[in-house]
C-alpha cells in the first residue's frame, strides 16, 4: 500500500446523504497520479455524487476527500487543484471558443500574452485550431466536447474530473472520442477520473475501474480484473454479457462444486465467500468462454463442465457466430464462437454439447 502522499486523490470512508437518501455509502478509494480511473455504475449508483465531492460541488456528510495528500475539507471548487468537464459540457454560450478556453486563466489573472499562447497550445492539442472565434452553438457535439476538455486542461489541474463527457454523442463519434481522450490523457499525464454508465467505455479507456451500485463501491480493479474476476453478481451482470445458470452449492472450498436443477454436477474456479453448502446460487460464464461440440465429442475430465442442449437460434455477426442454446429444464445459454472453427457451424434444432472450463466459471449469491 503506497503512503498517502503518493495518491492523487484519496477518499476516506466518504458518506453523502441527501435527507434520508444515502447517495454515497462509505466509499474509500485511492487513485494514483497519472491514472485514468473510471467510476462505473448505473444511474443512481452514486458515481456522479462521488465525483462532485472530489470537485467540491458537494461536501461529504462523513469522511474525507484528499487531493495529493491534502484534506480538502470545506474548500469550494475554485480552491481545489481540479477541473471538471461537465456532462452537457456547460460551455458559456455567449463566449467564443477562445474566450471559453481562456476563462480559467483570465480569472486567475494570468497575463494576456501567456493566455493567448496557452489557448493556442490547447486548440492544437484538441485539434480545433482555427475555431477560436466560433461560438459553442456553431460547433458539433464532438467539437463542443473538445472545447470543454481544453477549457479544463488549460488550467493544468492535478486531477481532471469528467462527468459522462461522451454521453451526448452518437456511437461512432463516441468511439473515436474514447481513443482521442485516452491519447490526450497519456500526452498530458494528468490524472483523469471518469464517470460513466457505459461499461464498454470504462473498459476501453480506464487503467482501473471502480464499479458502483447503490452508493457502494463493489469492486476496484483493472478492466481485465473486473471483467474476468467479478466479485459479485452485480459486477458480473453489469460488465459484459454473462450467462447465469441457477444452481445449488455442493462444495464451497476449491474445487467449487454445484448442481443444476436437473442434477448435472458442475465445477467452478471460485465461489463468493459468503456462500454455504446447500444454498441456491448462480453460476456465471461469459458467452465467449463456452464452446459447442457435436454429441460424443469435446473435452472431458474434472476441469470441464458439459451440458446437453438444442440450438434455438443462430445469429451470424461477422467476427463470430452467436448461438442461443436451450438446455432442457434449465435455461437458455448464449454461446459466442469464432467463425471458421473445424466443427463448422451448427444448425438450428441441432443437439449439441455446451462445454466450458472450470476456470471460466464463478459462483455468486443470486440477487433478486
Amino acid at each position: 500500500m503506497p503512503d498517502a502522499s503518493s495518491a492523487a486523490v484519496e477518499l476516506r470512508d466518504v458518506v453523502k446523504r441527501f435527507g434520508d437518501v444515502v447517495a454515497v455509502d462509505h466509499v474509500s478509494l485511492r487513485i494514483a497520479p497519472g491514472e485514468f480511473f473510471a467510476l462505473l455504475g448505473p444511474s443512481g449508483s452514486g458515481k456522479t455524487t462521488t465525483l462532485r465531492m472530489i470537485g467540491g460541488f458537494e461536501l461529504p456528510t462523513e469522511g474525507e476527500v484528499l487531493i495529493e495528500g491534502e484534506p480538502q475539507g470545506y474548500k469550494p471548487p475554485y480552491q481545489r487543484p481540479v477541473n471538471t468537464v461537465f456532462q452537457n459540457y456547460a460551455l458559456f454560450p455567449h463566449m467564443t471558443v477562445a474566450q471559453n478556453i481562456a476563462f480559467g486563466l483570465e480569472m486567475r489573472g494570468v497575463p494576456k500574452e501567456e493566455i493567448r499562447r496557452r489557448v493556442s497550445e490547447m486548440l492544437d492539442l484538441v485539434r480545433l485550431s482555427g475555431y477560436e472565434r466560433r461560438r459553442p452553438h456553431q460547433l458539433s457535439g464532438g467539437e463542443q466536447q473538445r472545447v470543454a476538455l481544453a477549457r479544463a486542461l488549460i488550467n493544468r489541474p492535478k486531477v481532471l474530473l469528467l462527468d459522462e463527457p461522451l454521453g451526448a454523442l452518437d456511437l461512432k463519434l463516441r468511439k473515436a472520442m474514447q481513443l482521442e481522450l485516452k491519447a490526450i490523457q497519456e500526452q498530458v499525464g494528468i490524472t483523469f477520473i471518469y464517470v460513466t454508465h457505459d461499461q464498454e467505455e470504462a473498459i476501453t479507456m480506464a487503467n482501473r475501474i471502480a464499479v458502483m451500485n447503490k452508493g457502494k463501491v463493489l469492486q476496484v480493479g483493472t478492466p481485465q480484473e473486473v471483467y474476468e474476476q467479478p466479485q459479485t453478481f452485480f459486477v458480473a451482470d453489469f460488465i459484459g454479457d454473462t450467462n447465469f445458470l441457477p444452481v445449488q452449492v455442493m462444495q464451497v472450498t476449491a474445487p467449487v462444486e454445484v448442481m443444476t436443477e436437473s442434477g448435472t454436477r458442475l465445477t467452478a474456479s471460485w465461489a463468493e465467500p459468503t456462500l454455504r453448502t446447500g444454498v441456491k446460487a448462480v453460476m456465471a460464464v461469459r458467452p465467449e468462454r463456452m464452446h459447442l461440440y457435436r454429441p460424443g465429442s469435446g473435452p472431458e475430465g474434472p476441469e470441464w463442465n458439459r451440458v446437453e442442449g438444442i440450438i434455438r437460434q443462430v445469429i451470424y455477426k461477422g467476427l463470430d457466430i452467436r448461438y442461443e442454446v436451450f438446455v432442457a429444464g434449465e435455461c437458455s445459454l448464449h454461446v459466442r464462437m469464432p467463425v471458421g472453427r473445424s466443427e463448422g457451424t451448427f444448425q438450428r434444432g441441432e443437439h449439441v454439447i455446451v462445454a466450458w472450463p472450470r476456470a471460466a466459471a464463478r459462483v455468486f449469491r443470486s440477487e433478486s
Binding site: 460541488f57 477541473n83 471538471t84 461537465f86 454560450p93 480559467g104 461560438r135 452553438h137 477549457r151 488550467n155
Partner: protein, 291 residues
C-alpha cells in the same frame, strides 16, 4: 369553397389573418393615421379641426414650456426603469433560484396586485404619502421620529415611487424568465474555473440574462414615459408629465391638433429609444447567444 382553400394555402392564411388584421386596421392603424393627420391641422375653437395644413403645432411642441415637461417625462421614465431594474433584478434572481413550487407561488404573488385596479392602488399610495394627512407622515410624527412632514408627495419621488410600484412586475417577469432558463451547470463551470461570486455574476449570469433585462427595461420605460394617472394623482397637480399635458389638450383645452402633435412626438421618441436600445443592447443579447 373547400377545394379552393385546399388548392390555395395562401388564401387560407389570409382568411385566418383577416379578423386580426381588420381589428388592427380599425382600432390601431386608422386612429394612428387620424392623429398624424390632425397634428398638421389647425384647431377649431370647439374641439374640432379646421382642414388647413400647418406646422404650427410642431413649433409649439418645442416651446420651452412643453419641451421641459417632455424632458422631465424622459427623466421620470429613466428613473423608473433604473429603480425597477435595481430592485427587480435581485427579486427575479431570488425567485428563479427557488424550488419549482415556491417559484410558482412567488410568481403568482407578483401578479396578485394586478387583480386590483391600478387607479385604486395609486389612490392607496395617495393616502400613504400625502404631506399632512398621509399615514406615513402622521405616524412618523406621532411616534416623534420627525417634527415636520417629509416631502413624500407631489414631487418626483412620489411619481417615481408610484411608477416603480406599478411597473416593476413587468421588469421582473422577463428577467425571471431569462434567469429561470439559465443552465445551473454554467455557474458550476464558472466556479470550477476560479470565478468568484461577483465574477460569476458579471461574466455569466448578467450577460445571459441581458435579453430579459432589455425586454423588462423597455416594458417599464415606455409606459412610464406616457404615464398620466400616476403623475396626476401622486404629482399632486404640481408635477406634470407629458401624458397629463396631452390629456389636457384633448379633454380640457380642446386643442386636438396640438395634442396630436405631442402624441406623435412622444411616439417618435419611444420608437427611437426602442430602436437604439435594441441596437446596442440587442447586439449584446445576440452575443448572449440565446439563439
Amino acid at each position: 369553397m373547400n377545394e379552393l382553400l385546399q388548392r390555395k394555402p395562401g388564401l387560407r392564411a389570409w382568411l385566418l389573418l383577416a379578423p386580426s388584421f381588420l381589428w388592427l386596421l380599425i382600432f390601431f392603424i386608422i386612429p394612428l393615421g387620424i392623429i398624424v393627420v390632425y397634428s398638421f391641422l389647425e384647431r377649431d375653437l370647439y374641439g374640432g379641426v379646421v382642414w388647413k395644413w400647418t406646422l404650427e403645432n410642431y413649433r409649439r411642441v418645442f416651446d420651452p414650456l412643453y419641451f421641459k415637461t417632455f424632458l422631465y417625462s424622459l427623466w421620470i421614465a429613466f428613473l423608473t426603469a433604473f429603480f425597477s431594474l435595481l430592485f427587480g433584478y435581485p427579486l427575479a434572481y431570488y425567485i428563479a433560484t427557488r424550488p419549482e413550487k415556491t417559484r410558482n407561488a412567488l410568481v403568482l404573488a407578483l401578479m396578485i396586485p394586478f387583480w386590483t385596479n391600478f387607479l385604486v392602488r395609486t389612490y392607496a399610495w395617495l393616502t400613504l404619502l400625502r404631506t399632512n394627512t398621509g399615514l406615513i407622515n402622521v405616524w412618523l410624527q406621532e411616534w416623534g421620529i420627525i417634527d415636520h412632514p417629509l416631502p413624500l408627495f407631489g414631487n418626483t419621488f412620489a411619481i417615481t415611487l408610484g411608477l416603480v410600484y406599478g411597473w416593476m412586475p413587468d421588469m421582473i417577469l422577463p428577467i425571471y424568465a431569462a434567469l429561470e432558463q439559465l443552465d445551473r451547470s454554467l455557474l458550476e463551470a464558472a466556479e470550477d474555473l476560479y470565478a468568484s461570486g461577483w465574477q460569476v455574476f458579471r461574466r455569466v449570469i448578467w450577460p445571459l440574462s441581458l435579453p430579459g433585462v432589455i425586454a423588462g427595461t423597455m416594458l417599464v420605460f415606455i409606459p412610464s414615459l406616457g404615464a398620466f394617472v400616476t403623475p396626476a394623482i401622486l404629482g399632486g397637480g404640481k408635477r406634470l408629465m407629458i401624458g397629463n399635458v396631452i390629456t389636457n389638450q384633448f379633454l380640457g383645452a380642446h386643442d386636438w391638433p396640438f395634442g396630436s402633435a405631442l402624441s406623435v412626438l412622444m411616439m417618435a421618441v419611444m420608437l427611437l429609444a426602442t430602436l437604439i436600445y435594441f441596437r446596442t443592447g440587442g447586439e449584446e443579447a445576440r452575443r448572449g447567444g440565446l439563439g
